[in-house]
Subunit: 316 residues, 2 copies
Amino acid sequence: MYTLPKFVEFREEGPREGFQIESKTYPLKERARLVDALSETGVKRIQVGSFVSPRAVPSMADAEALFAAITPRRGVQYTAVWLNEQGFRRAAKTPRVYLYGKMVVYTTDAFARKNNNCSAAELKKRQLDMLPLFDEMGVPLEEAYILTAFGCNFEGPVPVEAVTDGVRFVADTCTERGKPLPQIVLADTMGWANPEQIKRVIHAVRETVPEARVGLHLHDTRGLGPANFYAALQMGVDLFDSCVGGLGGCPFAAFKDPRAAGNICTEDMVFLCEELGIETGIDLEKMIEAARIAEQIFQRPLPGKIMHSGSLKAFR
Amino acid sequence: MYTLPKFVEFREEGPREGFQIESKTYPLKERARLVDALSETGVKRIQVGSFVSPRAVPSMADAEALFAAITPRRGVQYTAVWLNEQGFRRAAKTPRVYLYGKMVVYTTDAFARKNNNCSAAELKKRQLDMLPLFDEMGVPLEEAYILTAFGCNFEGPVPVEAVTDGVRFVADTCTERGKPLPQIVLADTMGWANPEQIKRVIHAVRETVPEARVGLHLHDTRGLGPANFYAALQMGVDLFDSCVGGLGGCPFAAFKDPRAAGNICTEDMVFLCEELGIETGIDLEKMIEAARIAEQIFQRPLPGKIMHSGSLKAFR
């Protein structure tokens, strides 16, 4: 039996997930303002942008300029996404980027090809090639992502064995190289997960690597995000990626867009934790304020709920 | 220990909850079209409108005309809301209205006064006065609603004893009059509930009236609706009110509006049930279609998720 965690760590990804699927590039100053507002909330890690091909993701082309435009706050890690050595070296050269080692494992070949133009097996090999680079830069291997861990629009349902195989690949790699096991983050990249599946898959991963901390990257594509989040809490999961305002893209594009849209909403899930007596280190009212800033930037209603209704603070 | 139910009964309330908070009255033909689309989905009960004061709720003034405009489908119960004898007699005179006996119990005085202009105690007395009317009309007492069972914007947190007291009032009334206990529906009228509280309150109600079927009327005001729904499933609850498209009002008005907005979304929760292997009798694709009709009528994005992303049917 598992119990609810006492503390949940949120990692804010709105500045990347929210903007990357936009065809439009929003003013640098406004994006920096959002990052700065988030840094005031108590959240300890903010994913600011991506060092990827500007052709593939035009809205992330100015990642260096965005990092330069923020007002860094002590104690906050400003992170970024990269997909290969070139991106990693760009990130490493950019001041203020919190650099760390990461492995990304694909459970399905089709999504690997869509996202990287090569097979899942080839991508595994490339992950291994990155490891000496982390050593060279002196950064620890902090985490491993298992993508499309709950289902894939291109290949359909993902068997739990595909997830545990991925986890075992990470564990074996670390054992062979004498590295400590990183935390394992299971990503519901395309919004397939349901709460009972969350429990089954987490249980299977824990059976495979009992010593690993397990986190989740959840999307709310089909409305089950909060239920999945709660199911994970019931499994004692204490690490979540989330997006302020429920950012993650236009819900109307989601079913045509392989980068499935709408992550779980940071402030709504912080509220859930608070109501359950779980600490987060985040000031809910400040996170709601950041969500309202995001809404001003996007100039359309965002999916977050509590940013519109207000919290219960005024009523108690 | 409880287990997930095998079948969940949804009662569709979008045509009432969705339109009642609108200042505008939408064309009768369009509202009838939505009701008719819903009746094709397999849902067995649709709340079409309210027989209440046209001054208080102008958008519901033409309830009789709306009932006349629908194309009734065999096996579907078309229901309505009323708050007093006058409303009940109007409903009784209207063809196609499925009439049944209902008690409504307020847990807080302040909300009773807001909604009915009299105390919760006075409202209890009025509920008793309605019972002979049900007998006169030959309709059974089918259900009792406990309003603001999880919290109240006017009085703050609602203790579980206020809920069990309300339930006991219903049970005692039935015992005294030799009537079978109706089903008990707990309403999170203002969106205060969290999943652990859902479990605690349902447990307490079951301790009070072990023989009663317990249902839930949930709002998604603060983003916890799907988590609360899942928590209730874990308690074996098999009866839910919900709204197609997540209707229930403009989320931007919610925190200023005592009629707290945004019910749980029928099609998203039907999808959740399906993913858990729970039957609903509802055709998910048809319910998504009805949600899209609702969106056409309101001409703004509704909060429902799967109506925008699409179900997983195409990917399996």
